[in-house]
């Protein structure tokens, strides 16, 4: 039986700790600063009219989110359990009248809220800059991108959590998380293309391979929200739109939600099986 009062207490503490985490604050500030810079450039490139400010900014934000948000989520998640296990604070927490599920859920919810707050800060200030400059068009796209960015952040956190549950030391967990980030961000696209060429994959297999990467899920969903077509993504994009039509976005969001849920459940299972010692 989960006591949500305990989950709330632990989530509050995680949120407060994230605010004191220098690396996390640095990432959040970098994301905000770069968002503002991209919005400013998008507004300038639209001339003095500021037309379609949110739409243009959303397009340029996609790559920024793909780069920074998974890094924030993965590293924050990787330190969540392994760091505290190493310090001994996790053992002391579990010696209190709480259960493992409450501890894991409290930590996860607190860190997810911290990520959402960091994204909210970046998106909020950027929205204010666009609004002040009169570029209020296509705010719905901008909000959709915020929602998808939050989902990607929480999915990355969940994967980081799993790494943390499987790794005994904080430094190892962060190392693994950074390596995975590198694979997902930089080798993801090239890897899929290379594999497709070597194995001569069909377009449907290529699309299925892309869906295995949460960053690709985000990218496809974000581009689709922005343009309502996926021609820019090549044959796999065209195939996806023709095959799934209006069901594509729910499918992509559902798969991102699966990336949130499944690694977290696997982390819980691993943590419960191994115990804290």
């Amino acid at each position: 039986m989960i006591d949500f009062g305990n989950v709330f207490i632990l989530a509050q503490k995680e949120l407060r700790d994230a605010g004191r985490n220098r690396w996390f604050m640095l990432y959040a500030l970098a994301f905000t600063g770069l968002s503002l810079a991209l919005a400013w450039m998008a507004l300038k490139s639209a001339g003095n009219y500021g037309l379609a400010g949110f739409g243009r900014t959303s397009a340029s934000l996609i790559n920024l989110i793909l780069l920074i948000v998974p890094l924030m989520g993965l590293t924050l998640g990787a330190l969540a359990l392994a760091g505290e296990r190493e310090q001994g604070t996790l053992l002391y927490l579990l010696a209190q009248p709480i259960n493992q599920a409450e501890l894991l859920l409290g930590k996860f919810v607190g860190l997810a809220l911290a990520l959402v707050a960091a994204l909210g800060l970046g998106f909020g200030l950027t929205a204010a800059l666009i609004a002040v400059n009169g570029g209020g068009a296509q705010i719905d796209i901008y909000l959709a991108l915020l929602g998808l960015g939050c989902l990607l952040a929480i999915a990355s956190l969940s994967i980081g959590f799993l790494i943390s549950a499987l790794t005994p030391r904080g430094s190892t967990a962060v190392g693994v998380a950074l390596f995975l980030w590198l694979i997902l961000v930089f080798i993801g696209d090239l890897g899929v293309m290379g594999t497709a060429l070597v194995l001569q994959l069909d377009v449907n297999q290529l699309f299925a391979l892309a869906l295995a990467n949460p960053l690709q899920l985000f990218k496809i969903a974000a581009v689709y929200s922005l343009r309502q077509n996926l021609e820019v993504l090549g044959p796999a994009g065209i195939y996806a739109l023709r095959t799934y039509g209006s069901q594509l976005l729910p499918l992509l969001v559902g798969l991102l939600l699966a990336w949130v849920l499944l690694p977290f459940l696997a982390a819980t299972f691993s943590f419960r099986r191994k115990g804290i010692l």
């Binding site: 207490i9 004191r20 310090q87 002391y92 579990l94 010696a95 209190q96 009248p97």
Partner: protein, 289 residues
């Protein structure tokens, strides 16, 4: 006899091929002070952690009638725990730490910890970050946290191992008062003097197995423990004292020009002093090791 407040039955904990705790069973009565005694690696810490169900184990353990495997959370409400390695969140202040753990323990009566902090002499440190506390103060904070919800049982893992002699004495005084107040104490230690001062009963662990459960005095006899007594004497008294102690059956040797070293059972340290006093030989000073 009352129903035991702690019951451990066939507790076994393995880490791969290593058996850290091997088929250990014992009961603890309410208000009793029980020490787990043994060398490093004997399984004391692992046994205590299993009792709190911090790791899966085979066998059974109940606290206040609650099965720690099935009702672990309810069982831990009955316990205050002081770990060997004091691991708090260093960036929190003493006050914040108390509030955080009080909320988790559902402590009734708000957040006024003044009486507890006064008792443990922590009141002046309430605003300090935990990282700025000395080892002794951290240990007192650990005890304060353990006592927040006024649990009937305290489980302490090597509570004085990281303390200097002054801090150790202070901490043992607090524990003695708690024992007098009726708390049930289960603690691990490898210091015999600590066990002797505090425990009603000692559980001797060797390589994970429980080899003896007895009062501290009996344990000392069982172990054949002896203490070295160093006696400082006036120069003319050394030779007669040596002869007298030797003839009394004590293991005596010379220790420099004005001293003797006598090996005595730990529960009979005054014996050489009595023998010399009765013979009219003055002892100028003595130390015990």
């Amino acid at each position: 006899m009352a129903e035991p407040i702690i019951r451990v039955t066939h507790l076994t904990k393995r880490f791969g091929s290593l058996t850290a705790v091997d088929d250990v069973s014992f009961d603890v009565q309410p208000g009793e002070a029980v020490a787990l005694w043994g060398a490093n690696g004997a399984g004391k810490t692992t046994a205590l952690r299993c009792l709190l169900h911090l790791a899966p184990f085979s066998g059974e353990a109940t606290i206040a009638g609650l099965d720690v495997k099935k009702q672990g959370k309810a069982a831990r409400y009955q316990v205050g725990f002081v770990p060997q390695e004091l691991s708090f969140h260093d960036d929190m202040s003493v006050g914040e730490t108390l509030v955080f753990y009080a909320r988790l323990k559902k402590v009734a009566g708000g957040t006024d910890f003044t009486p507890l902090l006064e008792r443990l002499e922590l009141l002046d440190h309430v605003r300090k970050p935990v990282r700025d506390l000395s080892g002794g103060l951290k240990q007192r904070l650990a005890l304060a946290l353990a006592l927040l919800a006024d649990p009937p049982i305290l489980i302490l893992d090597e509570p004085t191992s990281n303390l200097d002699i002054r801090a150790r004495e202070d901490f043992l005084r607090f524990l003695y008062e708690l024992r007098r107040d009726g708390k049930t104490l289960v603690f691990s230690s490898h210091r015999l003097e600590e066990v002797r001062a505090l425990a009603d009963r000692v559980l001797l662990l060797e390589a994970g197995r429980l080899v003896l459960a007895a009062p501290p005095r009996e344990l000392e006899r069982e172990l054949g423990r002896t203490t070295s007594l160093y006696l400082a004497l006036a120069a003319p008294a050394v030779d007669p004292a040596f002869a007298l102690l030797e003839s009394s059956g004590l293991a005596v040797s010379r220790n420099g020009g004005h001293g003797l070293r006598v090996q005595v059972p730990s529960d009979a340290k005054s014996e050489p002093l009595r023998v010399l006093h009765e013979a009219g030989i003055d002892v100028e000073d003595f130390t015990v090791e």
